[in-house]
Amino acid sequence: VVCKPIELILLRQLASRLPLGVSLVDARGVLVYANAPAERLLGWNFPELDDYPISRFDELFDPRELDGSRMKAENMPIAVALHERRPQQARMIVHDSDGTSHTILTTAVPLDGQGGMLLGAMSIYWEVDDVEGPA
């Protein structure tokens, strides 16, 4: 059994009680958890996507910039947070499992453990009505 680090375990427990969408990826860059609000927003049954890599998130969510241009998976905030180890915020468009588009505001942060160990990344997101405004 490959166990999750305690930081991910505690974040999962917290996220399971939040009304915002929360996704966790581990240090390998694979999805290990998304909470119920994330499932409601994006339409996916995330346990079925266990170990889905963020490098393929563009196939899953068809992410777009606000002007409609395609966003590469590597430019999604959670990928930036993981690979560049810095917070990233964006207002962007994603598509749910039915193909319906949603404008979301998302913030992703790297999960740095003690001693500089990279544990993964977390993104928080919620749907917004407007496409303007500060990201």
């Binding site: 059994v1 305690i6 505690l10 003690q114 001693g115």
Partner: protein
Amino acid sequence: VKVTFWGTRGSLPSPRPGTTRYGGNTSCVSLRLGDGSDIVLDAGTGIHRLADFGPDTTRVDILLSHLHMDHIIGLGFFGALFQPDLEVHVWGPPSATLNLHARLSRYLSPPLFPVRLRDLPCKLVLHDAPRGTFDLPGATVTADLVCHPGPTVGYRIEADGATLAYIPDHEPALADGAFPGRPDWLSGFPLMAGADLLIHDAQYTDEEYAAHVGWGHSSISQAMALAEVAEVTTLTAFHYDPSHNDVQLDRLFAAAAEERDWPFELAPACEGTTLRLGRQGAGVVPS
């Protein structure tokens, strides 16, 4: 491995007539390995009963699970620290802000304590316990952070062909409605898995736990569930609530053991008792 319990109580020293059997001193367990090496787990008030080490001993390793007062309050009274020829290595959980020396110095310095760390006669070496596996004389140790307020580690110690897991303060059920749930999401699981002996937090009854969610401890039934999931051979309940006396603990452990046919032995820790593990004995044998 010879495992001796010098302090079994949690949170607060609780010496009184009603706690003489399970014990009133706070967390301290010593391990004497087959090659003569000595490891001490935590430095609660129980550490004071550990006798001075003889001339054959050149090194003692103290593994601190965390720095809450009940786990370090006895450190300044540990005789080994005052033996000039002895090398004492203290390992503790890493912090994101201060090293172990700085954190321990908050207690081991005036006005809380008259002697500073730098003035101790022994050869003192402090280590942030690496998150992972490291070697000590005669043993391989794995440390990992576990669910308890503040930086807290549990230890898995492999020596003499036996495996012991020490997680004295642990709340893996925190806010987890599916507890114990999937092992890969279970705090401390890799430390406990398949251990011959699991020394684990068993502070509360289930009713008490419900009133103390988030305080960092487990109920007896949660410790039993963990031991089952982790497939340990023996569970040694530990870190008893200060309010629980011997009669109550007898009753609680009898009820827990009789609940059903558990796939492990329940052997609650009693202060002053010794267990033997691995090549020094067959399984866990009280001496």
